[in-house]
């Protein structure tokens, strides 16, 4: 007798703007799978999609805002976090998610990132790191590994990149994780967990950019990069963020690195208002 496993059918359609498809992403790009994980995470989380707002900056990843059937905001390059902060404070009931690229969040928007983390703004950041500025044609940025090639480092990058989880953890984020798009399940659960958790949650998602970064770094197909992830990834939940920096050769440490409690900006606001009110009533 053969036993059959019943596979639960899940469709992503409910939260996608199908009228906008086909999307602009290249075959083998990592952004699509990351969006898939996000949408399943929204379903897993049990959160009401009407109460979720998604903000993107500019870049290939920035296009996510246009494809999801949620209240979404496609902002200017680097300013996703200030826009998200406004949304969050204007309507604290909203669950605010920022879905943007490494260049957007760490280069031109780097200052906002550390300050939003420092304030412990109540939001979830999904940072798709493809190690370059994809949209503008594959130039190096602050996450490009040392020696990696790009259109502005044709002979190898001379700059040391950010260790992103270490940066955001040091800035005050209360939830920090990193997955690759190969770790689809873990990524999905991690996004759901991060969205439910109050405070500043940051998930770095490594995804292939075969058209630009991959092509210039001996991974011309999306699958090449997926194989690279498979070979080089090591899951180390609870790893000290300072030890998870990425090099071109690997290893790639993935996992949940930080999960701590700290009052959010909004909680601090309420506290100070209560204190001021109490003084007035004395």
């Amino acid at each position: 007798m053969t036993s059959t496993t019943k596979v639960e059918e899940r469709t992503l359609d409910s939260l996608l703007r199908l009228d906008r498809l086909p999307h602009i992403w290249c075959p083998g790009c990592g952004i699509g799978p990351a969006v898939g994980c996000f949408i399943r995470a929204v379903e897993d989380s049990g959160l009401n999609p009407d109460k979720i707002a998604l903000v993107s900056g500019i870049g290939c990843t920035g296009r996510v805002a246009g494809y999801v059937k949620l209240d979404s905001f496609h902002t200017t390059h680097g300013r996703a976090l200030p826009f998200a902060t406004g949304l969050n404070l204007g309507n604290p009931d909203l669950n605010v998610v920022v879905f943007s690229g490494d260049g957007d969040l760490l280069a031109i928007g780097g200052n906002h990132l550390i300050h939003a983390a420092r304030r412990n703004m109540d939001m979830t950041i999904i940072c798709l790191n493809n190690f370059n500025y994809g949209m503008t044609g594959g130039q190096m940025g602050p996450t490009t590994p040392l020696d990696a090639r790009s259109n502005t480092s044709p002979y190898g990058n001379i700059e040391y990149p950010f260790n992103v989880p270490y940066l955001v953890a040091a800035s005050g984020a209360t939830y920090v994780a990193r997955w690759t798009v190969l770790h689809a399940r873990q990524l999905e659960w991690s996004i759901a967990e991060a969205m439910i958790k109050p405070g500043f949650s940051f998930i770095e998602v490594l995804g292939p950019c075969p058209t630009l970064y991959g092509r210039m770094n001996k991974q011309p197909k999306g699958m090449d990069t997926m194989h690279h992830y498979q070979e080089k990834s090591v899951v180390k939940n609870g790893a000290d963020p300072k030890d998870v920096g990425i090099t071109a050769e690997g290893p790639i440490v993935v996992g949940k690195f930080v999960d701590i409690e700290r009052p959010t900006f909004w909680e601090q606001c309420k506290l100070v208002i209560d204190r001021a009110q109490a003084k007035k009533n004395e």
């Binding site: 500019i58 496609h74 200017t76 390059h77 680097g78 280069a107 031109i108 780097g110 500025y133 949209m135 503008t136 044609g137 130039q139 190096m140 940025g141 602050p142 259109n151 502005t152 480092s153 044709p154 002979y155 700059e159």
Partner: protein
Amino acid sequence: MLGSKAGTQILDGNHAAAVGAKLSRVQVIAAYPITPQSPVTEKLSEYVEGGNLKAEYVAVESEHSALAVCSSASLVGARTFTASSSHGLAYMHEMLHWVAGTRLPVILACVNRAIGAPWNVLNDQQDSISQRDTGWIQIYARTNQEILDSVIQAYKIAETVYVPVMVCYDGYILSHTEMPVDVPSPRDVDSFLPPYKPHTILDPANPRNYNLVTLANPRVNAEGVLCHGYMEIRYLLQEALQNAGETIASVGREFGGLFGRSYASMLWEYSLDDAEIVIVAMGSLAMEAIVAADTLRDEGHRVGVLGLRVFRPFPKSDVVTALKKARLVVVFDKNISYGSEGATCSEIKSALYGSGANAVIRNFVVGLGGRDIKARELAGAVNKSLPALKEGVLNDEYPEWICHI
């Protein structure tokens, strides 16, 4: 290597700008990528890292930083270059004022692109026009040859008058279109453009303070010298721009003598001698206008073209001379000063005021966000303006738009 050989080459506009910077022996380049400027930065980083250009290339984290790097590098005596477009240029706004205020000869290639919201990566000139009042000289190229030539001349102009220069060219129409370009030899460019001599220099042996808080009125410093107040410093920048026209023309004339392509005028003139109708345009549109003028001449109208090569300083007296005989002036703007009219039209009107010229002036806003504008549409707009000439209505309060509303 492509781009370093002298002689005719097929180059797109971005490549021409990069070759111009290379031939000018720039020493510090700082840039952040943006469509359609990105290939300029890629070419330059390739020259630098391939050892073909002795310069530092700084892949900064934003445009604001790009201009900050250029300004301090310029202060310690380096020849500097950056490039941007649209939102990138807008993000530089603070530093644009700062560089001009410090009187640094930084050169910026602006690859003209529309500005959001909503997002659009295609061409118009709203980006550089929005930076009109930052104190930069603005030169607009009509062809890829002019891009290369203008970058080289820009250094000589900027380093003579100590005002930064923005070399503007239309995104895609020029930046991504290949044309034959005559590339001068490095030796000839060296003889035209001597090494950069800064007006003042930050030097540990002779420490100075730069850009301190400056009061409104002149003040005596610690050494007893009466120093300018803020307003006098502003006056000097205006004076430098007012006088820059002579330098721009003489540099262009000298360039012509050496390379056979003269830039002795701040304007481009086509068939103006007997023209009673003049089309005014800036950038690549001025080339399109030539086709329109020819068509209209075939239809029996006496039409010429006035191309604005330099927008800042605005060549008022040259414009007056060029338009002296015109009875109808049709100005096309790829920009809009909201609530008023196209920026170049305002300039033309202001130049003509009090000059005795009595031309009918019509303004059309065209080509925003990459909307295609063809010679026949330009000709159509001129035809549409002819009744105004008969009726003698000199001015319209607001421009007409060539669009679907």
